[in-house]
Amino acid sequence: MRRRVIALLLGVLGLVALTLGAGAAPAQAASGASVAGVLVNDGAPVPNVAITVSATGFTQTVKSGPDGVWKVELPKSGSYKVSLDETTLPPGVVLSDPSKNNLSVLAFGGLPATVQFRFGSGTVATESFLDKFLQLFANGILFGLVIALAGVGLSLIYGTTGLTNFAHGELITLGALTTYFFDVVLEWNFFASVVLSLLCCAVLGYVQDKILWKPLRRRGTGLIAMLVVSIGLGVFLRYVFLFIFGGGTRQFRSFNGQEGIAIGPVDVTAKNLIGAAVAVLLLCITAWWLMKTRLGKASRAVSDNPALASSSGIDVERVINVVWILGATLAAFSGILLAMSQGANWAMGFSILLLVFAGATLGGFGTAFGALVGSLVVGIIIELSTLFIPPELKNVGALVVLIVILLIRPQGILGRRERVG
């Protein structure tokens, strides 16, 4: 047992140490707060425009890149003024409303705060409530899919082993970081990077179960003890990521700053659209696996009643191992999807883990389909809540929903009550 744990640690260290040489970067501003935007005039990026971000005791000027993208890392969260130097605009490009030059923005850790300057002579209609609603709804579905990918795995693992896996967030992060490694550091093809990253995570899922969780189950370790072990593992992995990757948020090389496609009032980027489609595809495959394949059915049987399942000839350990591989792969894709829209970061998985729990709990912990439904609901609620509350507090909304659901229907939307006696 002891040797196996050490082997696991060495394995993990080895895997992440791969990135050490190339990936090491200077520590960045720890606040994580940033402000960014894309300058686009009539569909074409506007490069080399000076943008100044300021607040008391802080001023920084940057130029927009060839793709029109600009970004400023901020020392801390707070309110900032953003202005554009109109003299640096290329000839023929003007602000559509010159009075909208000096904009103020709230910035805080996580997502960069975005500031858009609009060009052209045409007056830009302000967004109606409905348009905003639809846009946020679409964002919510995308975010819901991110949560669902992780939530389904979490739920399957809980269902088959009883483990509440607090280290699931690190699988999400690992998916994003390994993709970053292949895509940015090694400069491999993006799609190959994604596939490789999924493979890495699948292997980690397999290995994690084989050398850590399975032996613990063998020893009859209690579920609560295992929960605490998973928390310890989560903390450990998180800081290994920080150690290697550094504290900053970084973008993939490919499809960075991609421009949105307007579908009616809704603005989505092609990468997110394709990402969502792949997510749906993965979830469908999972559903098919659960419903139609022998192993998938067996996994449901194990969730239902492990003792009975094993006494009726199902190889419970094998089922659990496959569930781990599946769960890790799904989580990794969730991380990749998230990083495509927000950038990769050492703590990204942990920061959405609570929402994944909310989704899984809402759907009835331990039921894969419940997790899917619950996650979508959570994603949509979080995005829509920004219509009414400051975006920096939007996760509060999800927690409140979680608590209300626990009060009304503790077994979740699709869950089942537990047996007493």
Binding site: S77, G232, L354
Partner: protein, 334 residues
């Protein structure tokens, strides 16, 4: 390598206010998890209630410090009730999820730009401790104090040190009294099997709530010490890391042992300081080259050790230092 400095730091940190803060947090957790079996992973939120309750009352509402303490305690009780009402009837792991989330929410609120006026945003709040120290502290507030290898930066730190250990003594005494009483028997019964206790006519929900409040208040005392010893509150001091440290301390010392958190906190902070200071010294004097470890990364190593420690302890010595082998043997059967 300056071993004299490292050892002196180690001894000082093992009993310093920071160890006291985590000790009180762990005593509270011990009531929650060790005795009652409640999975509270949001202990940081209870400390934040104490610290912010005090700081906000004094600086924003100009209340005297003792009223600030009362506000902190009341906020703690309210938080415990808010967390407990929806979750204590449910499966144990729901409490873990909700508490970890609640702690994160509390921190997000505290550091939010929206509530900056009241809660101080990411800068936190300073300047609330002056009235407390100037009215109570008998020591010279500027002068450093040194007792052999133990070093206190000024009289305030020394004063907090004494108050902190007095609080630990009182808290431990109360926990000891409570746990050897019939009340404690019900609490421990709930940890073993709450349905059995229910079948004997005890209102399990109410007892769990009492334990949640009790442990929360003990943690809140840690929050007061934290705020006063630093003379400031900062939202990121109340991140989930604090909770993980407290868990490690509790399990290291031995859960469900009155002395567990005390021993755990001293050993934990002693060891941690020893490792961190040694590494810092080694990197600063280039014994460990920059390419392997930079000084600013030593903190990250510290967290890795905590995570690893929590895992390994839980796997190989879940009973901690003070734990009972015989009890452990029973655990394995479950």
């Amino acid at each position: 390598m300056d071993w004299g400095f490292i050892l002196s730091q180690t001894l000082t940190q093992a009993i310093a206010p920071i160890a006291i803060v985590y000790c009180l947090a762990a005593i509270g957790l011990n009531v929650h998890f060790g005795y009652t079996g409640l999975l509270n992973f949001g202990q940081a939120a209870f400390l934040a209630m104490g610290a912010y309750g005090l700081a906000v009352s004094v600086t924003r509402f100009n209340l005297p410090w003792w009223l600030g303490i009362i506000v902190g305690l009341v906020l703690t009780v309210i938080l415990a009730l808010l967390l407990g009402i929806p979750t204590l009837r449910l499966r144990a792991d729901y409490l873990a999820i909700v508490t970890i989330a609640a702690a994160e929410i509390v921190r997000l609120f505290a550091r939010s730009v929206t509530f900056r006026e009241t809660l101080g945003g990411s800068d936190g709040i300073n300047g609330f401790s002056t009235s407390f120290f100037s009215s109570l502290n008998p020591f010279n507030r500027q002068q450093p104090y040194t007792f052999g290898p133990i070093h206190f930066a000024n009289g305030d730190v020394l004063f907090m040190f004494l108050i902190g250990w007095a609080l630990i003594a009182i808290a431990s005494l109360v926990v000891w009294l409570a746990m050897r009483s019939p009340w404690g028997r019900v609490i421990k019964g709930i940890r073993e099997d709450e349905d059995a206790v229910r079948s004997l006519g005890k209102n399990v929900y109410s007892y769990k709530m009492q334990a949640l409040v009790f442990g929360g208040v003990l943690g809140c005392l840690g929050g007061f010490v934290f705020a006063l010893a630093n003379a400031s509150v900062q939202p990121d001091n109340y991140a989930s890391d604090l909770t993980y440290f407290a868990w490690l301390i509790m399990i290291l010392g031995g859960a469900a042992r009155v002395g567990g958190p005390i021993l755990g906190a001293m050993i934990f902070w002693g060891l941690l300081t020893l490792v961190v200071e040694t590494l810092k010294n080694a990197t600063a004097s280039a014994i460990i080259p920059e390419s392997i470890l930079r000084t600013d990364q030593v903190g990250q190593i510290q967290f890795m050790l905590v995570g690893l420690g929590l895992m390994l302890l839980m796997i190989f010595r879940p009973q901690g230092i003070l734990g009972d082998k015989k009890e452990l043997a029973l655990d394995a059967r479950r």
